[in-house]
C-alpha cells in the first residue's frame, strides 16, 4: 500500500506545484485588472525597475513613500547603470535608471522597443572618500593628484604629492588601496570623465567610460560595494555617492574645481554645479566639472529611463498609469525628499524640461491619464 501512497504523494506535489504556478499567474493578471478599475487614488500593483546604485538610496526612500501614497510597490534593484540600461533595453524591467546618459549606440539598440526618454531626477556628489587612520576629512586634492592615485603612481598616503597641498596634516606611511567599481557604472563614467579633464596620462590610458581597464585596485559592485571596500581596508580610497559616504561616516576630500577652489561636497556645492548649465533637448547632459566658483566639480545628474510610448514597449495600460504616477512623484514631492538623503533637487530649468518629458509620455499614441 505504501508505494501507491508515495507515488500519489509525488504526483500530488507535482500537481500542487503546477497549480501554485498557475494560480500565481492567474492572480497576477487579475490583480492588475482590478487595479486599473479601482479608484484612482490607490493605484496598487507594482512597478519593477533596475539600474544605477548612485541614486538607489533616494529611489528606495521615494519608493517607500510612494507606496504609502498610492499603494504601488516600486521594486528598485540597484544593479548598476550598465545593468540598468541593459535590462531597460531588453525590456525585462518597467523602467531603467542610469547616472550617465545613454550613448548613441545604446540609444540605437533601445530603439527596437521605442524611443528612450531620459528623465533627470536629482543631482548628487561623487565623493572621493578615504579611510586612513588619523587623517581627517577635507584633504585637498586636485584632478591630477586623484588621477595619479588611481593610476597607482602615488602609492603611499605620505607621498609628497598629497602633502604638498595639505601642509600641517599628519599623513601616515600607509599603503593606498584603490577601490573602484567592477560593474558598468555611470558613477565610474562621471568620475573618470573628471579625471580625463585633468590628467593627460589618464586621458591617454584608461580614459572615460562606464567600465575601464583599471591600472590598479580592488573592484567592487555598486556604490555600496565600493563603500564596503573603503570601510574594510585601512588606507583605502574610492569614489562613492555622498549618501553612501555620509551613512558610513567616511572622510572625503575637498576637490579643486575649474575655478581653482577646493570645494567640499555639500548640498549647496552640489546644487551650484547646475547653475547656468546648458542642457540639450534630449536632456543627455552632465554637470561634471562645472564652471561655478562654488560648484563641487564631480557632481553627477541621474536619470530614469522610460520609453516614449510605454505601452508599445510592452507595458499594459494600468502599469503605464503607475509609471506616470511614479515619475510625477519623482519630479514632484520627491524633489523635496531628496535633500534628506543629501541629494540636490534639479535646477529649475532642468526641472521644467523634465516635467515636459514626463507629460509627453504616451500609451499607444494617447497621453497617459493622470491620477
Amino acid at each position: 500500500m505504501t508505494h501507491t501512497r508515495i507515488l500519489l504523494a509525488l504526483a500530488l506535489t507535482g500537481a500542487l506545484a503546477l497549480g501554485v504556478a498557475a494560480c500565481g499567474s492567474d492572480s497576477k493578471s487579475s490583480s492588475s485588472g482590478s487595479s486599473s478599475s479601482s479608484s484612482s487614488a490607490k493605484l496598487g500593483g507594482s512597478l519593477n525597475g533596475a539600474g544605477a546604485t548612485f541614486p538607489a538610496p533616494v529611489y528606495q526612500e521615494w519608493g517607500a513613500r510612494f507606496k504609502d501614497k498610492t499603494g504601488t510597490a516600486v521594486n528598485y534593484q540597484a544593479i548598476g547603470s550598465g545593468g540598468g540600461i541593459a535590462q531597460f533595453t531588453a525590456g525585462t524591467v518597467d523602467f531603467g535608471a542610469s547616472d550617465s546618459a545613454m550613448k548613441d549606440e545604446e540609444i540605437t539598440a533601445a530603439k527596437k522597443k521605442g524611443d528612450p526618454v531620459h528623465v533627470p531626477t536629482v543631482f548628487g556628489a561623487v565623493t572621493v572618500s578615504y579611510n586612513v587612520k588619523g587623517v581627517a576629512k577635507g584633504t585637498k586634492m586636485d584632478g591630477a593628484l586623484i588621477a595619479d592615485i588611481f593610476l597607482g603612481k602615488v602609492k603611499k598616503w605620505n607621498d609628497p604629492a598629497i602633502a604638498k597641498e595639505n601642509a600641517g596634516a599628519k599623513l601616515p606611511a600607509t599603503d593606498i588601496t584603490v577601490c573602484h567599481r567592477s560593474d558598468e557604472s555611470g558613477t565610474t563614467k562621471n568620475f573618470t570623465s573628471f579625471l580625463v579633464a585633468y590628467s593627460k596620462e589618464w586621458a591617454g590610458g584608461p580614459g572615460s567610460d562606464k567600465s575601464i581597464k583599471w591600472p590598479t585596485g580592488t573592484g567592487a559592485k555598486g556604490n555600496d560595494g565600493v563603500a564596503a571596500c573603503i570601510k574594510q581596508n585601512d588606507g583605502a580610497i574610492g569614489y562613492v555617492e555622498q549618501a553612501y559616504a555620509l551613512a558610513n561616516k567616511f572622510t572625503y576630500a575637498s576637490v579643486k574645481n575649474k575655478s581653482g577652489q577646493f570645494i567640499e561636497p555639500t548640498l549647496a556645492s552640489t546644487s551650484s554645479a547646475g547653475d547656468g548649465l546648458k542642457v540639450p533637448k534630449d536632456l543627455r547632459f552632465s554637470p561634471i566639472d562645472a564652471k561655478g566658483p562654488q560648484a563641487y566639480p564631480i557632481t553627477a545628474a541621474t536619470f530614469l529611463l522610460v520609453y516614449q510610448d510605454v505601452c508599445k514597449a510592452g507595458l499594459d495600460a494600468a502599469k503605464a498609469q503607475r509609471l506616470k504616477a511614479w515619475l510625477d512623484y519623482a519630479e514632484g514631492d520627491g524633489q523635496g525628499v531628496a535633500k534628506e538623503l543629501f541629494y540636490a533637487k534639479l535646477p529649475d530649468a532642468i526641472h521644467t524640461a523634465a516635467l515636459e518629458k514626463v507629460k509627453g509620455l504616451q500609451c499607444n499614441g494617447q497621453p497617459i491619464k493622470g491620477t
Binding site: 545593468g83 540600461i85 588601496t177 560593474d183 581597464k213 580592488t218
Partner: protein, 330 residues
Amino acid sequence: MEAATISSGGSPALGRPPLSRLPDRLLRWALTAIALGVLALIAYFFVRLYLESRPVFSKYGVLDFTFKDAWVPSKGQFGALPLIVGTLVTSGIALCIGVPVAVASALYVTELAPARARQPLTILVELLAAVPSVVYGLWGVFVLIPKLKPAEQWFSDTFGFIPFFGGSVAGPNYFIGGLILAIMIIPIVAAISREVVATVPVEHKEAALALGATRWEMIRMAVLPYSKAGISGAAMLGLGRAIGETIAVTLVIGNAPEIAKSIFGQGYTLAAVIANEFGEAASDETHRAALIAAGLVLFVLTLVVNFIARYFVNRSQRAMARSVPEGMAG
C-alpha cells in the same frame, strides 16, 4: 482495479491478457520518454550555449579570446586571459591546501581513528559541504580577509624573494579565494579518498603489520601505493568543483580583470565575471556572447578535469576488482 490486476497476475504469466500489460507498456514509455527528454534537454543546453557564444568567437577568434589580456566590456575588448589565469591560480591554490588536508583526514579516519570517533568525524567533514557558497563568501569577507591580512603581509615581506609572493597585500586576493575554495573541496576529496582507502585489501595491511611495519609504514607501503590512482581522481574531482565555484570567489577575489604579480594581488575568475556581468550584457550581443564563451571555457575545463578524474577513479576501481578477493569488496 487492484483486485483485477492481482487476479490476472495470479494466472500464468504467459497467458496474461494484453489489456493488463498496458500499464507495463505505459510505464516503459513514460520512463523512456523521461530519459529521451532529459537527453534532449542537455543537447539543447549545449547547442544553445554554443550558438549564443558564436558571435564572440567569430569576431575575435578562439585564440584571441582565450589568450588576450584585456577584458574591458565597454570598449568591446574581450580577452579572457586574466580570467582564465585567475581561475587556474585560485584552483591551484585550493588543490595545494585542500588535498593534503582532505587526504590526511581520510587516512586518519579510516586507518587511525578510534572506531567510535570514525562516524562523527566523517559526518563533521561532510557538513563542510552543507554550508552554502554565499555563506563562505560572507565569512571570507568579514572574517578571513581582515584576520589573515597581517599574516599575509608578514609572509609576503619575509618570502618576497620567491616569485609570486612579494609586494603589498590586497584585502581580497587570489590566496583568499584559493583558501575558501580549498575549504569547499575538502569534503568531496575526503569522501572519495575515504572510499578509496577503505577498499585497500585487509591482507595487504595485515601483511605489512605482520612484517613489523609501524602504522605509518603500513599506510605508506600498503595503503598509499594501492590508492594512489583513486586519490588522484579525488583531487581532480575537487579541482573540477573549484574551477566552477562562483559566488564565494566573487566576493573575495577583488574583481579586477588583471593578472596580479603575486598571489596576494586582486584578480578575477571566469565564473565570477559571469556572475557580475551577465545582468549588464542583456542588450549587448557581443558582451553576452563573451560571457557565454567564458561559461563554455569554464565548462570545457571542468569537462577535461572530470574526464581525467574519472579515468583515475575507474583505474583504481579496476585495480580493486582485479585484486580484491571475493567478498572483500565494499
